[in-house]
């Protein structure tokens, strides 16, 4: 943002000689244009989308809250202060305390930490798988048929039931091997990642197929670029924008799925707060303390909403046809 603010007056200043002496002054202006990177253009376009900007702001706020929060609000989320149980909003407990007297703000921060890290890790896994399969299917003609049939097969699987079954069946083995928290974290991240890579793979494959026919790929091939470098240097940078858009959608999807699993009682163990788990626990006290349902629910919804808005803005910003306007 600051880069752009400094950049703008300079570009404006250099425009004056253009009017006076067009032949000479064309050069400095060109230089200032050349120094503008593509990402500055993208940022400029992104800034015009108000919803996306607000979403990005909120998401950064959530990220800061869950990373720095535990240092600022030093309550232990599992500390039981039985005399404070079921207290409402107060100075000692800004979001109240739950049925065991645990501080809700600390639990929200700890829960957000889990939910967001599950979201980001599962998204990264899904993106990795989706990009790998998409690039392989798009680039190597022999692999296209089998890999796309494989993708179709995954798309025809009932994902939520299978995810529930996976969590149920493998929870205990993994808990025994990696400890209850890491085990379930791994299980949920792998489960969500393995069941949500298909849209990315399809989009990436389509883009790679189109890119393969372009002249710069032909040029690169004619100078003898090997396949490995072809993919990493020429194909991947050009499919970056659809990947980034599906990254945002992937985070949203992963957060919702993790919360849904926790809500169905098949997610993280009860003493390990996540937003979905907090929501699930609070529904038992729905009649008396509805606000305890609102906090985690609003956190999930607003985070997902902000991520969706970022994706929306990013889609516009990364599309060069829209960016010019």
């Amino acid at each position: 943002m600051t880069d752009r603010a400094e950049d703008a007056p300079v570009a404006g200043h250099e425009e004056t000689p253009v009017a006076a002496n067009p032949v000479q002054a064309a050069q400095p202006q060109n230089v200032s244009h050349g120094s503008r990177s593509q990402w500055l253009d993208v940022w400029d376009q992104f800034r015009t989308h108000k919803g996306a900007l607000a979403g990005a702001g909120f998401f950064v706020f959530i990220l800061l809250a869950v990373t720095l929060g535990p240092y600022l609000w030093i309550y232990d989320p599992t500390y039981i202060d039985i005399r404070a149980r079921n207290t409402g909003i107060s100075l000692a407990h800004p979001l109240g305390a739950d049925q065991l007297g645990r501080d809700m703000l600390a639990r929200m921060i700890a829960g957000g930490r889990t939910s967001v890290s599950v979201g980001v890790t599962a998204m990264a896994l899904a993106l990795f798988l989706g990009t790998l399969i998409g690039v392989l299917a798009g680039y190597f003609r022999k692999l296209d048929g089998p890999l796309m049939r494989f993708t179709d097969l995954f798309l025809a699987l009932p994902l939520l039931p299978l995810l529930l079954v996976m969590v149920l069946l493998f929870r205990e083995t993994l808990s025994a091997n990696f400890g209850p928290e890491t085990g379930i974290f791994l299980l949920i991240v792998v489960g969500i990642g393995v069941t949500s890579w298909m849209p990315t793979a399809r989009i990436v494959r389509g883009d790679v197929l189109a890119l393969k026919e372009r002249e710069f790929v032909l040029a690169a091939r004619s100078i003898g670029t090997p396949d490995r470098r072809m993919i990493t240097r020429h194909i991947l940078p050009n499919v970056l924008s659809p990947i980034m858009v599906s990254a945002t959608l992937g985070i949203a999807n992963a957060i919702i799925t993790e919360s849904a699993l926790s809500f169905l009682g098949l997610g993280f163990p009860p003493d390990y707060p996540t937003w979905g788990r907090l929501l699930y626990d609070a529904t038992d006290y729905l009649q008396q303390y509805p606000e305890r349902v609102i906090w985690p629910g609003a956190a999930i919804s607003l985070t997902v909403l902000s991520v969706n808005y970022i994706g929306d803005g990013l889609r516009d910003a990364l599309d060069p046809r829209i960016r010019g306007r």
């Binding site: 798309l155 009932p158 299978l162 069946l169 919360s259 349902v293 919804s301 929306d312």
Partner: protein, 335 residues
């Protein structure tokens, strides 16, 4: 068109078989013994007999084959029996639930009406709301209505049903007391008063599920209408002096509905998945709730059958969407 349909049907058979095998293997790999819950005083040979009676102990391909025969041959015959009063496949082994020792499909048929009522009604309501919203927001693009529609559908995308469901319970049943928070499945509709009771208990789950549907379908409808409104034939229709009403509702809408209809068909299995959560929130004892209880009770035949039913729904509606697309738009038939 017939060859196209036939080919699509033939492709879906191996797909279903592979999915059936994948589900079977996933459950097979699972650790855990169905007799683990039984008392430790049972002698090992009796335990082995119990395992045999549950259909375990035989080699894996045999069990898979048996399950396929039970599911694709014995169970359909029982459905025919139920409809026509015949007695095919009497005494043949059916897929039995480990929880209740009764045939899985009988329980599924008991639970199906509740799910179909809530889920089916919500989908119809959702589509009925979404289509006019989509049409109007495309016609008045960037108007206040359009912006509001975009915002509402963004919320519909982002607020998960387990929160929106709980939220409407807090507002409408705890604070206002308008609707009951628990869906009473034993309620029988026989006169006007009981119909009103049924309506009141259905409103909240139906609206929660419909919000999701509306959010998706209205966006598709809007995008599709926008694509078509800029076309030359629309300008031609206007230039001929046709009324706006017939330009939009007759010419544009018909063409815009083609992709939307397939999206509607593709969304049907997804809504059954969403119903798993909504049924849990409103305590509807439908299919989704059956799946959750079966998972918690480690009732593998039930889980296997239900998951496979969901898979059949997905494959079936993909097929319907493909064929519908071909019927509606002659340009994309591949025969």
């Amino acid at each position: 068109m017939l060859t196209f349909t036939l080919r699509r049907v033939l492709i879906s058979i191996p797909t279903l078989l592979v999915i059936a095998f994948a589900i079977f293997m996933l459950l097979e790999l699972a650790p855990g013994d169905p007799t683990a819950q039984l008392p430790l005083t049972i002698p090992p040979e009796v335990r082995e007999q119990i395992r045999q009676s549950l259909g375990l102990g035989e080699p894996l391909p045999v069990r898979f084959g048996k399950w396929l025969i039970q599911f694709f041959w014995v169970e359909p015959l029982h459905i025919i029996n139920g409809i026509f009063g015949t007695d095919f496949a009497e005494g043949a082994q059916r897929v039995l639930s480990w929880q209740t020792r009764s045939p899985v499909m009988d329980i599924v048929w008991q639970r199906m009406p509740q799910t179909l009522w809530v889920v089916g009604m919500s989908y119809i309501v959702g589509v009925a709301i979404a289509l006019p919203i989509g049409i109007y927001s495309a016609y008045k693009q960037y108007s206040v209505f359009d912006q509001a529609g975009t915002f509402v559908s963004m919320i519909g995308y982002s607020v998960p049903p387990f929160f929106s469901g709980v939220l409407v319970i807090v507002i409408f049943s705890v604070k206002l007391g308008w609707f009951p928070s628990i869906y009473d499945t034993t309620h029988v509709v026989n006169d006007w008063d009981s119909f009103v009771v049924q309506l009141r208990q259905m409103i909240m789950p139906v609206m929660v599920l419909a919000l999701q549907t509306t959010a998706q379908i209205s966006r598709f409808m809007r995008a599709s209408m926008l694509d078509n409104l800029g076309q030359d034939y629309v300008r031609t229709a206007r230039a001929k002096g046709m009324s706006e009403r017939s330009v939009v509702l007759r010419h544009t809408l018909r063409n815009s509905m083609i992709p939307v209809v397939t999206v509607i068909a593709l969304g049907v299995p997804g809504i059954f998945g969403g119903a798993i959560i909504t049924e849990q929130v409103f305590k509807v004892n439908g299919i989704g709730q059956l799946l959750i209880t079966a998972i918690q009770a480690n009732d593998l035949p039930m889980v296997q059958t239900l998951t496979f039913i969901f898979a059949i729904l997905i494959v079936l509606f993909n097929l319907i969407a493909d064929v519908l697309y071909g019927v509606l738009d002659p340009r994309i038939r591949y025969d």
